[in-house]
């Protein structure tokens, strides 16, 4: 069974009855929508046209929101409805990142994720969803797409249909009849300063200038709803804290295996940074939950396909490992140090890099889908981790040998980081959405922060690191420390534009 919707835009009159019927059915808070009507005006007078598009959850066959949801709050029913259980939801918002359709929001009353669930409570009662019932022109059809005799299947099989964002390969089950491409394609019709009878939200307005639009039709969105970025500074910050901890431990492990004694820095500073990084990351993660008191659900109601769950275990294991490292160093348990040193590198890499898999599950954010991201996160971690150890080395002192290792690691990681950025932002992007996001970063609204905040300081740091490594390290440790300091805000600046731009590109 595969319940879906067919929406006939040839007869839709843009009246918003579906929107309001849905809101009264589910008592959706003001400002939030499970379904809404998008308007697009195109052309120049007297050849102006207006098109409508009814937007909502696509009840995807391969629903990315279900996959990413850490607590199985979102789930796919046997009849195809993508449903949710707000009593399981921890409010992590990852589903909002996974959905390529702007369909999910955090309900302001329950602080949990919500979206169109095809009025599953009504369907279970053999009743049509509220939006289908109310529609004056019967433009919304519901039914089993797998049953070739059903009304909806007949409609979909005999008429030309389109779906939103087919390139996301999620198997959307909302089929549009006679829809204007400019309505379905979120990039085709930027907002033109204002809506027809409402105010565009700040994010759409700011992003509009970075969208290519269509120079022929001059299509512009004249009504839509707001979809603010779900993730903000907390996620940006934990990308950095996680990196420091992971990088520090990886370097400490490497040094141990190479037989280079980092002294206090290796024995205590690195694991402390590891614990600090993991703990702040965990803390920020929980803080960012809309239902933080439910954070244990990640472990108690785990969805094992979610990298949020796997990531939580990585964080836990990494924290434990860092603690043991401290113990091993304090009580001089050699065999344990050896074991941990071997483990530190893959664990650190996973600690830094698992986010790439989580971001990879954020199917709605094409910028984050880069195959390079895992390696880039590892490199970034080594960069900030070694940078942090360099600063620590200034205070605690390091042997020449150790300085050389730190300098080499730092210089290589920073150069690699810059090279990877070059590959990411000069190369061709996987999709139009990613291209737009990259454009926003390199030449759009974030370009200042990107170039001056992220690239220039990282480049300076790379040069300083290379100079330190190439010259007599002990004499240039101050330069290395300075470089190690420089890369910290530089990475925060980069993560900030990376996280924001990824979410800025409109999905509806």
């Amino acid at each position: 069974m595969r319940y879906g919707f067919a929406i006939d835009q040839r007869t839709c009159i843009g009246c918003h009855a579906c929107t309001v019927a849905c809101k009264t059915e589910h008592e959706v808070p003001v400002g939030q929508f499970r379904t809404w009507v998008k308007y697009v005006d195109s052309g120049e007078f007297p050849d102006t046209t207006r098109s409508f598009g009814v937007m909502r959850c696509n009840h995807c066959t391969d629903a990315p929101c279900v996959k990413i949801c850490p607590t199985q709050a979102l789930f796919k029913r046997d009849d195809g409805i993508v449903d949710f259980d707000n009593e399981r939801c921890i409010g992590c918002k990852s589903c909002m990142q996974a959905c390529p359709y702007d369909a999910i929001y955090i309900d302001e009353d329950t602080h949990t994720a919500a979206k169109c669930n095809m009025c599953a409570h009504r369907v279970d009662n053999d009743l049509e969803p509220a939006c289908v019932v109310v529609c004056p022109t019967h433009s919304i059809w519901v039914g089993d797409l797998d049953d070739p005799t059903s009304g909806i299947a007949t409609l979909v099989s005999t008429q030309e249909t389109a779906v939103r964002s087919p390139e996301q390969n999620t198997g959307p089950n909302v089929f549009y009849l006679g829809a204007d491409r400019a309505v379905l394609d979120p990039l085709a019709a930027p907002v033109d300063d204002t809506y027809i009878w409402a105010k565009p939200d700040a994010q759409r307005l700011e992003t509009a200038g970075d969208l290519p639009g269509d120079p022929t039709t001059k299509a512009r969105t004249t009504l839509n709803t707001a979809h603010p970025r779900p993730w903000g500074w907390k996620v940006v910050t934990y990308l950095w804290t996680k990196g420091i901890g992971a990088g520090a431990m990886m370097l400490a492990g490497l040094a141990y295996l190479l037989g280079i004694d980092l002294g206090v820095v290796g024995d205590y500073v690195a694991p402390t940074l590891g614990i600090f990084g993991a703990a702040t990351t965990g803390g920020l993660l929980v803080w960012d939950l809309k239902r933080p008191e439910r954070f244990l659900y990640i472990f108690l109601k785990s969805n094992w396909t979610s990298w949020l769950v796997l990531g939580a275990y990585v964080l836990t294991v990494f924290t434990g490992g860092s603690l043991l490292w401290l113990v091993a160093a304090a009580f001089d348990v050699g065999w344990l140090s050896t074991v941990l040193a071997w483990l530190a590198i893959p664990a650190g890499a996973l600690m830094a890099g698992y986010t790439a898999f989580l971001f990879g599950q954020a199917e709605g954010r094409d910028l984050w889908q880069s195959p390079l991201l895992f390696w880039h996160l590892v490199v970034q971690a080594v960069m900030v981790g070694s940078g942090a150890l360099a600063v620590a080395g200034l205070l605690a002192g390091l042997s020449d040998e150790a300085w050389t290792l730190v300098a080499a690691t730092f210089a290589i990681a920073t150069v690699l980081h810059l090279l990877m950025l070059a590959v990411e932002y000069t190369g061709k992007h996987a999709g139009r959405q990613a291209t737009v996001a990259a454009h926003i970063i390199t030449s759009g609204r974030y370009s200042r922060l990107f170039w001056l905040g992220a690239i220039v300081p990282a480049s300076v740091a790379a040069v300083l690191g290379a100079v330190a490594w190439a010259s007599d390290v002990s004499a240039t440790v101050v330069l290395l420390g300075l470089a190690g300091l420089l890369v910290q805000p530089a990475l925060i600046a980069y993560e900030s534009v990376f996280v924001r731009a990824g979410q800025d590109v409109p999905l509806s």
Binding site: T11, I13, G14, C15, H16, A17, T19, V20, A21, K23, T24, E25, H26, E27, P29, V30, G31, D41, G43, E44, F45, P46, T48, T49, R50, S51, F52, D83, D85, E87, D109, C119, H121, R122, D124, N125, D126, L127, E128, V132, V133, V134, P136, T137, H138, W141, V142, G143, S150, G151, I152, D193, T194, Y195, I196, W197, A198, K199, K218, T222
Partner: protein
């Protein structure tokens, strides 16, 4: 029983089966996926937002008797279980934390914003005493009931007739008076009823897919006609409305040129001989046309008539129309070619739009119906019928007879042809010294805001010697209620009784609005004697209010009023709403008693269960309905074959039509019902117009608008402002308290074509000062391609304000400073826009909109069309960039200038009485129609040629 709106796709149905409506169990949406059942009583009622009167089904929770939500009513043949956004949003209005829950009496000066709670008893006693005094002292024209949205048929007529006052005042001349005159002149009936679902061509001069009457029922059928029947849709609108966006042909004419366009289409049909000759020959009063316009031709030569008509209309060429409309000639030619393909299935409709915007706008509906007549698409399948064929007014027991008054404040002599009361002029007529009001009821009406020249209203309403007592009957706060002495809370659609019937397809239904909680309680065995017991707070319903008030006006029955409010079942006792509707449904609705009996129900039980009854369907060509022997008996044909029964001066004419007139005998001897005009034919030529001194307009023609392209000096920064368009989500000022509607539509941009914006150096978001004849307002520009150059659009609905924290709706109204320099110059300036506020509803703190809009109507002087009386809404304005002292939303008006403009338009009138001594044509619709005697201004026989 199969309901008209019931539907099943595979195992999913759109509504629970009607058998389960008394005990429908449903799972809680918010608890889902946990199955938490609730048991509901499903009670039908009627939406009270726009006039469409769509069916609603209230889900009343049996556990706590709250209304969970409102869906459509599948039993309703008009709306068929579907609704627009405003239907389900009714629940917001019911649960509005800002609603008025108790009767209020003003404290301090009128409009000071201070109120005290008052008991219904005290309010009723005071109001009744004032009305009684006016009646006893024969100041009966001092009692006026001014209704905005009637939402019912027959009830207001009843109490006004019973009181013997000529006090019905409507909102029609800010709405549809123009269209009504055009339609009335043709066939007597004042509204069209297009059969869209079966049309070949749908010609709309209104935005019927998003607003208009009747939005949802019509939109369904327009789309059905388009998709199932392949009908072509043509829309004439200077603005790209949502309706225009669905048109096969959208023409954006210069406002006011529509009649020229339509006449050029008529001319094309005539000259290419694509007219329905048989229909014209039988149903048009063409002999009269020949007699007056071509006395040299034989009056019985139809071919000569057609040739003459073709010649007479040949001046309306495509190029003439294109010049008037400032559109390419080819567009008009295409329109004509499409119309010619309609056969007898042309569904054409105009209701407000051009007819409400322009001087002479009534010629637009007249020219539009001309196309129906020429193509023979009148009353046909897919054609356009008159509303009267598809509407029923169900009267209660013991209908009071007509009065013999003529209220000159409502029907002034200057406007004998006005299709409704001259309500826009009320403040001016009062200031002229033509009378005063002892009791002014504003009922679901907001003239201070909605009418033009609101500051003149404000001046009149705050002058206690002109308006002695103002009672606002309203479910929600309005600007007008702020200036009342009593604000009496009346129920929303779920809290009151009414019946209504509107022409929405080729059939006829009667809807029943009911207080759903009361009905649920009664079904659960708890007797409710008064709707206040089941409504929130002390909110009442009007039926019971008028019963009670009438008894208090005439407690001992000595005035002859009380008897009309006595029970038909318990002589001498006060009638109850149950008894009233029991009687109506048992006696006034053909077929209902039998349909009810078939289900083992009483008629009242049937209506309580279904909320509606379909009286007739597939009603076509009722003009050809043969007269029954009873109808023919006692009639004599007049010189034109009209069959008339004898009448006296004490005969009361029907709501539409002449007293005694029953039908027409044709040349072939058949006797049919015909039309409601004096000739019982479709009047291409109107004798009435000649009688009232407007011979030049006796046949359809084109009147140049007051905002024609010639009247606008674009070189002097002048443009036309179209201030009337509606949004699909809002309804006048009554939906401001529906949060789910507000969150969708909450800004008020001034639509300006990008070419104009460039010309003025303006961009989207810039402030402009829009200067009218009497003042200016400051608005925010939207530079757009969705309106034609030269024309500005500013939607209706917004620009809401309140003067104090104590009265108003914070969902939609901004707080203003209202000041007056003492010499007629008023200023309105927003101190605060809309902002979040604390209430029982957490959503009120989530208000994310801030724009209260611009109250443009304040800056419009009255523009009464000299014939229809329609306020000609469109404004010639001069645009300038906002000055440094200007703020968004500012309004400045000089009411001395208002008076001057009022006088200038009055100078264009041709006051009655007519040559035959009539104050007004007898056949035209007139609410609370008086006896024939009252129609004669100087007494019967004073005029020329009066038949007695």
């Amino acid at each position: 029983m199969n309901l008209p709106g019931e539907r099943t796709h595979e195992r999913l149905r759109n509504f629970p089966p009607v058998e389960s409506w008394d005990h429908h169990v449903e799972y809680d949406a918010k608890a889902h996926p946990r199955k938490v059942p609730h048991e509901y009583m499903l009670v039908p009622t009627t939406c009270f937002n726009c006039e469409s009167a769509c069916g609603l089904l209230a889900y009343v929770d049996k556990a706590d008797l709250t209304i969970k939500r409102l869906e459509g009513n599948p039993a309703h043949p008009g709306s068929r279980g579907r609704n627009c956004a405003k239907g389900p949003a009714t629940i917001n209005q019911v649960n509005d934390p800002e609603r008025i829950l108790h009767p209020l009496r003003r404290v301090g000066d009128r409009g000071s914003g201070h109120w005290e709670q008052v008991s219904w008893d005290d309010a009723l006693d005071d109001i009744a005493a004032r009305i009684r005094a006016a009646i006893v002292e024969d100041r009966r024209d001092e009692v006026i009931y001014h209704v905005g949205r009637p939402g019912e048929d027959g009830f207001a007529e009843r109490f006004l007739l019973a009181w013997g006052v000529d006090g019905h005042n409507s909102h029609t001349n800010i709405c549809s008076a123009g269209a009504r005159l055009g339609y009335s002149l043709w066939g007597g009936y004042d509204r069209p009823s297009p059969d869209y679902a079966n049309a070949k061509v749908i010609l709309l001069i209104s935005s019927h897919l998003e607003a208009g009457h009747y939005f949802n029922p019509h939109a369904q059928r327009i789309m059905e006609g388009k998709v199932s029947g392949g009908a072509k849709v043509i829309v004439l609108d200077p603005r790209l409305s949502n309706t225009a966006s669905h048109a096969d042909l959208w023409i954006a004419p210069w406002p006011g040129s529509e009649a020229a366009i339509l006449l050029s289409v008529a001319s094309y049909l005539l000259r290419t001989d694509q007219v329905d000759r048989a229909f014209l020959r039988r149903w048009v009063n063409w002999s009269t046309y020949l007699e007056h316009r071509h006395p040299d031709l034989p009056a019985d030569d139809f071919d000569a008539f057609l040739a003459a008509l073709t010649e007479d209309y040949s001046q309306y060429t495509f190029s003439f129309a294109a010049q008037e409309a400032q559109v390419p000639e080819e567009q008009i030619a295409e329109l004509a070619r499409i119309v010619a393909t309609a056969g007898s299935a042309l569904s054409a409709h105009v209701w407000r739009a051009a007819t409400a915007g322009n001087l002479g706008g009534w010629q637009v509906s007249r020219a539009l119906f001309f196309l129906n007549v020429l193509t023979g698409s009148v009353g046909t399948k897919g054609g356009t019928s008159p509303n009267g064929w598809d509407k029923i007014i169900a009267h209660g027991p013991n209908v009071p007879e007509g009065h013999d008054l003529w209220n000159e404040l409502l029907w002034p002599q200057e406007f004998p042809m006005s299709t409704n009361e001259m309500s826009i002029l009320l403040p001016h007529l009062l200031q002229d010294g033509r009378g005063k009001l002892a009791m002014y009821f504003s009922r679901v009406y907001n003239p201070v805001w909605t009418n033009p020249d609101g500051f003149s209203w404000l001046e009149a309403l705050t002058n206690e010697s002109l308006v002695e007592c103002h009672v606002a009957l309203t479910p929600t706060w309005s600007e007008t209620a702020t200036f009342a002495d009593y604000v009496l809370p009346m129920g929303h659609s779920t809290e009151r009784h009414d019946t209504q019937s509107y022409e929405q397809y080729a059939g006829k239904w009667l809807g029943f609005r009911q207080p759903v909680t009361r009905v649920a309680l009664e079904k659960m065995g708890r007797a409710v004697s008064d709707s206040r017991e089941s409504n929130p707070g002390e909110v009442w319903e009007e039926n019971e209010f008028w019963f009670e008030l009438s008894w208090r006006i005439d407690p001992d029955g000595s005035l002859g009023i009380r008897k009309y409010f006595e029970s038909p079942y318990r002589p001498g006792e006060k009638i109850t709403v149950d008894e009233y509707y029991r009687w109506v449904f048992e006696n006034s609705v053909p077929g209902l008693p039998k349909a009810a009996a078939d289900q083992g129900l009483t008629p009242l039980e049937y209506m309580r269960k279904y909320g509606v009854f379909e009286v007739a369907k597939d009603s076509y060509r009722l003009d050809e309905r043969p007269l029954t022997p009873a109808e023919v008996e006692g009639t004599t044909p007049d010189s034109r074959g009209v069959l008339r029964k004898p009448v006296t001066l004490d005969s009361t004419p029907p709501l539409v039509g002449e007293a005694g007139s029953v039908g027409v005998v044709h040349a072939d001897g058949t006797k049919t019902a015909g039309w409601l005009t004096p000739s019982r034919k479709l009047e291409l030529f109107s004798d009435t117009m000649v009688d009232f001194g407007w011979e030049e307009y006796a046949a359809p023609g084109y009147i140049e608008s007051h905002v024609s392209h010639r009247a606008i000096d674009q070189g002097n920064d002048e443009m036309v402002l179209m201030p009337t368009f509606r949004l699909p989500t809002l309804i006048h000022t009554r939906s401001g308290n529906a949060k789910y509607l507000n969150e969708i539509s909450n800004t008020h941009p001034l639509w300006m074509n990008s070419l104009d914006a460039r010309r003025f150096g303006l961009a989207t978001g810039d402030l402009v000062r829009v200067n009218t004849e009497i003042g200016y307002f400051v608005a925010r520009v939207w530079s757009t391609e969705s309106i034609r150059p030269g024309v500005l659009g500013l939607s209706h609905h917004m620009g809401r304000w309140r003067t104090s924290e104590n009265a108003g709706s914070r969902w939609a109204m901004g707080l203003v400073d209202l000041s007056n320099d003492g010499d007629g110059v008023w200023r309105l300036r927003y101190k605060e826009g809309v902002k979040p506020f604390k209430s029982d509803d957490p959503d009120s703190e989530r208000i994310h909109w801030d724009d209260p809009g611009v109250h443009q109507n304040l800056t419009f002087a009255v523009h009464p069309d000299p014939l229809s009386g329609m306020h000609c809404w469109h404004q010639k304005v001069r645009i300038e960039k906002a000055r440094s002292e200007d703020q968004y939303g500012d309004v400045v008006v000089d009411t001395k200038r208002s008076r001057e403009v009022y006088r200038a338009w009055m100078d264009n009138t041709r006051p009655g009485p007519s040559r035959s001594g009539l104050r007004r044509p007898e056949f035209m619709m007139r609410p609370v129609k008086p006896k024939r005697r009252a129609f004669f201004a100087d007494g019967p026989g004073a005029g020329v040629g009066v038949e007695e």
